[in-house]
Symmetry: C2
């Protein structure tokens, strides 16, 4: 075995991690950031912590850095179309975010998409800015279920991937 | 909507995050730590970073804190039995880790299970010790594929979960 990092093996091994797909949102009350994000994991039960890695040069990362808050909207298995709407730049028109309705999260005000089955809001406790994505550690301060029993979308099932 | 954190909604929303199942391993050359871990995500392409949340009071977390290295072995879809073997205390007998063969990782020496389809080794770059699991950020320094095309195990498919 080589002690070099083989780019091809790295890609395949990292793409073997399973992910869902989520729309991560943030706002400072003036600007909005919203993007499809799969690099998310829980990281503690008590306190309830999650980790989200957000493109470092994105509008969302800039807003989160200033507000220290974000929300995660978990897409259901049949909601890839919603996810795809958030692979492009954030728009706010006619009170909709990238064409989708939302309401303000009860604790942080972060946008909650009203069509997705699960959501949670977080307050940032720690930030690691080391790579091309900023790692935000967030404490879950509010959560909700709009469609209990809905199966979350599995990124692998879409034929897409983001990783490697 | 209430501005309280509803424990039931929190549980359901956090369990909606999709995960694989992995055996995370570490050694200081004398003691070995190995455990089934699902709270793992990539967190940067360049440098290639991953985040793993490891039970703070575990032997593995203690070893990683001292060696600043670990490996992740990604289980294949038909390898739940291997995962279950690492839900108990770590044993090293007859040159096997919890009854499974391994070899030393080429860069960090962390144990690599020879039966699993994908693996990567990491050097810890950052640590966040805030909750009941320690968040290790690791740079991928070596990776391998033993069974290309093997589908990784999806935790949801096992009927088990760890989160909420």
């Amino acid at each position: 075995m080589s002690d070099e990092l083989d780019p091809s093996a790295k890609k395949l091994a990292l793409r073997a991690i399973n992910y869902g797909l989520h729309v991560l949102t943030a706002t400072d009350g003036k600007e909005y950031g919203a993007g499809g994000v799969n690099w998310i994991t829980q990281a503690s039960f008590e306190p309830p912590l999650v980790v989200a890695a957000v493109k470092a040069d994105s509008g969302s990362a800039a807003i989160i850095a200033s507000t220290e808050a974000f929300a995660v909207n978990v897409l259901g298995a049949d909601q890839l179309d919603i996810g795809k709407a958030f692979f492009r730049s954030t728009t706010m028109e006619d009170g909709e975010l990238n064409g989708h309705p939302f309401e303000a999260g009860p604790v942080t005000g972060s946008p909650l998409l009203t069509e997705t089955p699960y959501w949670f809001e977080c307050r940032v406790t720690d930030t690691v800015a080391r790579g091309d994505h900023t790692i935000f550690v967030g404490q879950v301060v509010s959560a909700g279920v709009r469609d209990e029993g809905s199966a979350p979308l599995l990124l692998r099932d879409t034929g897409m991937n983001y990783g490697g």
